[in-house]
């Protein structure tokens, strides 16, 4: 099996978000970057498990500048075999997906695994877009992936619960919690990652379909109103009469 895992760079989850240039840009100063958790913990690890069990390789791809290289090295340290960086500064999901699809079209991957969303853009948009470009199914919010012969068997979350589906032929999935367990890279992996191939390929020139005008921080809370532990009915009254939520 050959898997392509789409890896994005995300600010560490403890980052306090701030903006610069008149609130038009994310302030990256002092920010630690990580592999987007869904891409790393679930998509990448599940692909590695399947290849360890049945042979093949895991290629990781990111659309971004040289600032993505440390993230790709981290994913190589976890066990990916090869990395590809598509050299562009993507502005939105449309651009990312078109670049990944353009790269994947020339290859023969059995499946393309994405995370369910990036924790900075929260679009959950890229996977279905890649699938449409390649005219293959997209299993969104996938919680398990196994093979029975050539057929991929997956479970996914739907509005009504958990559904089991099968796909023959290539597909894209977006990975949600449950698919695999996080792996911590060991020393051997980190050493090996230094010499694994990281290929930089030129972008195809795809453009974005949206642009961000301005960022804002949510309004501060007015402050908590404390209710005595012995008088929970007062809380119920406040929720009904003051907050009007019940």
């Amino acid at each position: 099996m050959e898997f392509l895992v789409c890896i994005s760079k995300a600010p560490d989850t403890t980052t306090r978000i701030a903006f610069t240039e008149g609130d038009t840009r994310f302030n990256e100063e002092g920010v630690q970057f990580i592999v987007n958790p869904y891409d790393e913990w679930y998509a990448l690890v599940r692909a590695l498990e399947l290849v360890e069990a049945g042979g093949g390789k895991v290629v990781i791809a990111a659309v971004g500048g040289a600032d993505c290289d440390p993230i790709l090295r981290k994913a190589l340290a976890i066990g990916a075999h090869e990395a590809v960086r598509i050299d562009a500064q993507p502005e939105d999901a449309m651009q990312v997906a078109a670049e990944i699809a353009a790269y994947a079209k020339g290859q023969s991957f059995d499946a393309i695994l994405c995370g369910k969303e990036t924790i900075d853009h929260n679009g959950s948009a890229v996977p279905a877009m890649i699938a449409e470009h390649l005219d293959v199914p997209c299993i969104a919010l996938c919680t398990s992936l196994n093979y029975e012969g050539d057929k991929a068997i997956m479970t996914r979350e739907t509005a009504h619960g958990i559904e089991k589906v099968g796909v023959s032929g290539p597909f894209v999935l977006s990975a949600a919690k449950g698919m695999a367990e996080q792996r911590i890279p060991n020393m051997r992996g980190i050493m090996a990652a230094r010499t694994k191939p990281l290929q930089v390929v030129p972008a195809s020139g795809a453009t974005a379909g949206t642009r961000i005008d301005r960022f804002a921080l949510p309004p501060e809370k007015a402050g908590v109103k404390l209710v005595d532990a012995d008088n929970p009915s007062e809380l119920v009254r406040l929720l009904r009469e003051e907050a009007k939520v019940i």
């Binding site: 989850t13 403890t14 978000i17 903006f19 939105d92 999901a93 449309m94 369910k116 924790i119 900075d120 929260n122 959950s124 948009a125 996977p127 279905a128 877009m129 699938a131 449409e132 470009h133 005219d135 997209c138 299993i139 919010l141 979350e157 739907t158 509005a159 619960g161 958990i162 559904e163 089991k164 589906v165 032929g169 597909f171 977006s174 919690k177 453009t207 379909g209 949206t210 961000i212 005008d213 301005r214 960022f215 921080l217 949510p218 809370k221 908590v224 109103k225 404390l226 209710v227 005595d228 532990a229 012995d230 929970p232 009915s233 809380l235 119920v236 929720l239 907050a243 939520v245 019940i246």
Partner: protein, 307 residues
């Protein structure tokens, strides 16, 4: 501006998240809804401002739905396609965006201001104003963010619709087994009762379930609680779990780490119950009780039942 709204139905009725999406579209311009499969009457769509419904065939997979919605947009010469940012929306919207070469603004949380759309970014730690850069646009609306328009008295007309949908490629082997025990799914829930490591063990969740039943809420949990297997994965809320925006979020025995807050701070009202008055969650709360959950929660349940 003409809009297409893609509607998910259950038992012939439009889902609440889809009605919100349709109402949002109707606020932008003349809206034509697209459904796949059975519809009872107009499925409730006329009341939110939809004039016509295009009814496509049933049992389509994501690729076919993408084609159906795109074909409807082409036929109607619509410039905006709207659907809910729910499970299905996440599988469809990107496909329509590519087919129509339309920019996608995902997870919009407010009615548009001119051509500016507001959405959450950084897992709810910030918002962004986004504009389309293409002639056409696809927009998904975050469930329970925008709400329903005041119900009108209109009825939508329903016409059969079909297009070249290609073949089905995803085989459903087992239909969805409910995971939330009849309660509203978390992303759409209006009321949520959530608990964390302060509960000490899975055997203590009875008081949480009782409170959730009394409130009519869906249950959720912090990440460590689902990681250790006290609760199922799909209950995990936060930056790396599900992002929710209920009207009421009651957090019990949860410290309020930044990653937890990121997924829940869109809640309209937050109640925190924690025995530690210094717990960071109180800073993000509207109401709080400092006390032992094992003592406070059963009393609170009684107080809700007394309503």
């Amino acid at each position: 501006m003409k809009c297409i709204a893609f509607i998910q139905t259950k038992g012939g009725q439009a889902s609440k998240a889809s009605l919100e999406a349709a109402g949002f579209a109707a606020g932008i311009g003349e809206t034509i809804a697209v459904v796949s499969g059975v519809l009872n009457g107009d499925g409730g769509l006329g009341a939110v401002g939809v004039g016509r419904v295009l009814q496509g065939p049933a049992d389509l997979d994501d690729g076919q739905l993408g084609r159906l919605v795109s074909a409807a947009a082409n036929q109607e010469e619509a410039h905006v396609v709207v659907c809910a940012q729910d499970h299905l929306g996440k599988a469809i919207a990107g496909r329509v965006s590519v087919r129509l070469n339309a920019g996608l603004i995902a997870g919009v949380t407010e009615p548009p201001q001119g051509d500016n759309y507001t959405r959450n970014v950084f897992s709810g730690k910030a918002t962004a104003q986004v504009k389309g850069a293409t002639d056409k646009l696809v927009i998904t609306t975050t469930p329970n963010a925008i709400g329903l328009p005041a119900a009108g008295s209109g009825t939508a007309s329903v016409e059969a619709f079909n297009a070249d949908l290609g073949e089905r490629k995803v085989e459903v082997l087992e239909a969805a087994a409910p995971s939330t025990g009849g309660r509203a799914p978390l992303p759409e829930a209006e009321l949520v009762v959530s608990a964390g490591r302060g509960l000490k063990g899975p055997e203590n969740w009875g008081i949480i379930e009782d409170l959730a039943d009394a409130v009519g809420a869906t249950t959720a949990c912090s990440r460590p609680v689902s990681d250790i297997g006290w609760r199922p994965h799909h209950e995990h809320v936060g930056q790396t779990g599900i992002a929710i925006r209920p009207n009421l979020y009651i957090a019990i025995g949860i410290s309020g780490a930044i990653q937890h807050l990121a997924g829940v701070n869109g809640s309209k009202v937050i109640v925190v119950i924690n025995k530690d008055p210094e717990a960071p969650f109180f800073k993000a709360a509207d109401y709080g009780i400092v006390g032992d959950a094992f003592d406070v929660v059963p009393k609170l349940t009684e107080a809700f039942k007394a309503l």
